[in-house]
Amino acid sequence: MFEMTYRDALNLALKEEMRRDPSVFVLGEDVALYEGSFKVTRGLLAEFGEERVKDTPISENTIIGVSVGAAMGGLRPVAELMTVNFALLAMDQIVNHMAKIRSMFGGQTFLPMTIRMPGGGGSQLGAQHSQSLETYFMHCPGMYVLYPATPADARGLLKSAIRDNNPVIFLEHELLYNSKGEVPEDPEHIIPIGKADVKRLGDHVTIVAYARMTVLALQVAEELAGEGISCEVVDLRSLAPLDEETILESVRKTGRAVVVEECWRTCGLGGEITSRIYEHCFDLLKAPVERVSGLDVPMPYSRKIEKVCIPQPGTIRQAVTKVMTGKY
């Protein structure tokens, strides 16, 4: 095992996959000379050169369109969109093209491409730079959506994404880049797409979370353990395909569930997961499912009120208390 940061784990995955497969190349704004605005592509230009590590103009829709074409032409592009917010400028190529091409053309081609995008809120970057858009991507069939919480998962999932022959949206949380964790040394340690991970075993209540919300859920679970409440934490990792079985299995055991999402509540993934729990476990539930979500508001800049809009350990704790006791 090595101890490394989420950023370094992603960087390692990129390097390993580029060494392994010469058809893998990286493109995006400021990814080469500047080594990425979050430094995830550090050292890539030096090792792999200008043909494989490419700075692009600020043209998001075309970054993705060119990646689609390159993938159709036999390459394995890994595009970086500087942040998830700018993916909205590329939604035409992502949704109307990338996600449709294989099916629309009767399975005659495939797009082995990955789009990496840092995202999430909490750094006072204001309304246009603090969004959690995971649900937007999950809503669209034809592509996978991954969102790791730990350095080990970051590395293992990114490697899977690059090797997979389907288009993959790969989300990275900006506040996790400096977080550290153990990462297996084996370069073939890959995390399968579509498998959630039970990050903590427990008996009383299941907390379903992903990315930074998993980190907060684990923190709350640890605190509550001292108070006699045993939480099981299911880290989704893969938002699409969603590992329904792992979620349901846990809820069948605990009989209670709290779903934590950083995105807006309305039509968020929490609503989807809650509904699947009701569809399959209604009779077993000891309490209604609770959702902890980002507030349905454009993110304010001021740190005093930004906090209010993003799930905090305190709000997760309240929700767990509520499903355990019926009151806040």
Partner: protein, 325 residues
């Protein structure tokens, strides 16, 4: 020595240019300090080095003309007349800020002064400027729309779509590109096939001009001429002002991609001392008079910082306010 400044405008106006540039510089440098102290958070993109563009251009416009910009917009707002106290309070995230602490550094807005916003999605302001120009013409208002943007923004689809649109519908938009040669760490010739940005308008038959953006008088003259043309013809016009940001892209960027020699070359062209020298040499202002102005500017910025520090935070309930009318 040939008089470059005298008679371009009355002396008072020429001196005011210096004051506006100085207050802008002082404001930015104090922002850097307040960021380091943790009072300003998030992204902070400073304008130091580019002051001649905001000051010269704003003077070339009418007060009724709309101004739109990107996220490096503190100086454009202040020069237009937005109260520095309320700008600083916005940067501190306080309830007294121009946008009640909800916008932050990248999203200043003051419709009473026709300052129609700082936008942080590169290229977002192009079509909005065109729409404002359309509304102005539709309502028979005598105003044009001035759209500021960087060299990096010209590769967005909205740039091309908006240039075409403004010309097609014959709308009064003045496009002002602040070419500081970099979009974050990418130098303009590495992102644009045609690095001479003003030439790009030929595909839309929009007249364009390149101007020295380190020279406030040159910018003023070019923008004044262009704004009059736009007003007279009701059609778009395009100015490329070449300039330089003395700091990194944002406070998070150490700007290692630029050489010391390049920095020095541009520092030698700093629009403030060079303009001050001209004012003194032509007898428009004395060194002492300029020193008084500098002291006054420092006091304005001091006052802004104190105001921001002492202002209240927004209430938590404010997050639900101002979303719908």
């Amino acid at each position: 020595m040939e008089a470059r400044l005298r008679n371009v405008l009355p002396d008072q106006e020429l001196i005011r240019f210096y004051e506006q540039m100085f207050v802008s510089r002082e404001f930015e440098e104090r922002c850097a300090e307040q960021y380091t102290k943790g009072h300003i958070t998030g992204f902070l993109h400073l304008y130091s080095g580019q002051e001649a563009v905001a000051v010269g251009a704003t003077a070339g416009l009418h007060r009724d003309d709309y101004i739109l910009s990107a996220y490096r917009e503190h100086a454009q707002a202040i020069v237009r007349g937005v109260d520095p106290k309320r700008v600083m309070a916005e940067l501190f995230g306080k309830a007294t800020g121009v946008c009640k602490g909800k916008g932050g550094s990248m999203h200043l807005f003051d419709p009473k002064l026709n300052f129609m916003g700082g936008y942080a999605i590169v290229g977002g302001q192009f079509p909005i400027s065109v729409g404002l120009a359309f509304a102005a013409r539709y309502r028979g208002e005598d105003r044009i729309s001035a759209c500021f943007f960087g060299d990096g923004a010209v590769n967005q689809g909205t740039f091309h779509e908006s240039l075409n649109w403004a010309q097609l519908w014959q709308l009064p938009v003045l496009f002002i590109c602040e070419n500081n040669y970099y979009g974050i760490g990418t130098e303009v010739h590495r992102s644009s096939a045609l690095a001479s940005i003003h030439k790009r308008t030929c595909g839309y038959d929009i007249p364009s001009e390149k101007v020295d953006g380190m020279d406030v008088i040159a910018v003023y003259r070019a923008v004044k001429y262009a704004a009059e043309k736009v007003r007279e013809t009701g059609r778009p016009y395009f100015i490329e002002a070449t300039t330089y940001r003395f700091r990194g892209h944002s406070m998070a960027d150490p700007a290692k991609y630029r050489s010391a020699a390049e920095n020095e070359m541009w520092r030698a062209r700093d629009p403030l001392p060079n303009y001050a020298k001209g004012l003194i040499e032509e007898g428009i202002a004395t060194r002492e008079a300029l020193a008084d102005i500098e002291a006054r500017c420092r006091a304005i910025v001091d006052e802004a910082v104190t105001f921001a520090e002492e202002s209240p935070w927004p209430d938590d309930g404010a997050v639900w306010e101002d979303i719908y009318v």
